[in-house]
Amino acid sequence: MKTALAIAAVLASIPAILPGTAFAAEPAGGGGAAPQTSLPQLEGEVMCPTCGTLLELSHAPAAERERAFIRKLIAEGKSEDQIKDALVAEYGSGALALPDDDSINFYAYLLPLLVFAAGLGGVIWGVIRWRRNRESAADDVGPPSGPDSDDEARLERDMARFDL
């Protein structure tokens, strides 16, 4: 019993020993267990509002303001999705470099895959059909037939003529 109490006391004291760790795990933005993100990670996924490039490639004044905005939201403990939502609210959907998978932009990914699959299917179907045609053509030819009666008669005549 004393051992169990001692273990419980030690476990209970861990947050007190490491208060920074305990509080750092809890996002201040009220996101619960939302995964933390970083500026370098987001810079590769969002666009500069004025340059038409990824944010990570730009140091335009507008890009610097966008970075400051993202830093502020990260400091507030916002998750990646919350930050992206905030950027879309500020700059519109063009703020995102990657298509949003729950929007019509999803088809930007889906369509090339569908076209590729359809093309591949077409090639496979064509090859199968070609092979089938070739096999049936070979079946139609059948075993080689012997000489007809005229040919046989001529052959006999020739062999007799040459004393074979």
């Binding site: 509002p49 004025t50 004044p61 507008a62 303001r65 500020e90 700059y91 519109g92 959907s93 063009g94």
Partner: protein, 168 residues
Amino acid sequence: MGVVALLGLLAWGLFNKGEGGLGEGDPVPVATLPTLPAGEMKSLEDYRGKWVLLNVWASWCGPCRDESPALEEFEQANRGDIDVLGIDTRDLTNDALKFLSRYGISYEQLRDADGRYADDLKTTGVPESLLIDPDGNLAAQRKGPFRNLQDIEQFAAEAIAGESVSVQ
């Protein structure tokens, strides 16, 4: 063959470069945008029958800061003859609101969050200003900042002088 294609592409690029902006007399595109601070939706249609000086700006733009006091002064001096309308483009809402507060801007503002309207206006940067006649057509355009109040007055002379107003 490749060289010919490349030359054709270059020629196409050169010809298309000339179609960069709105021409004088062209109808100015209209878009319904939220006001800044938010609250209403407005468009150029709401200003039909009046001269408008449309100023496209952003808080991160240094020259926009420089011309702002003169624009505010111009608006106060010519209220009634011409409406000054700001279009805040590709900007953060809080930055824009702080800008308006810091420079004491009182004229109406619309927020063009994604910059689509600025693109429709064929602007090439900020600041840019368009003088729009009461029929909604372009009377004059300034790419870049105004130097001072006199510069703005000169730009908008046609409007200030009360030139012919023909609303259709």
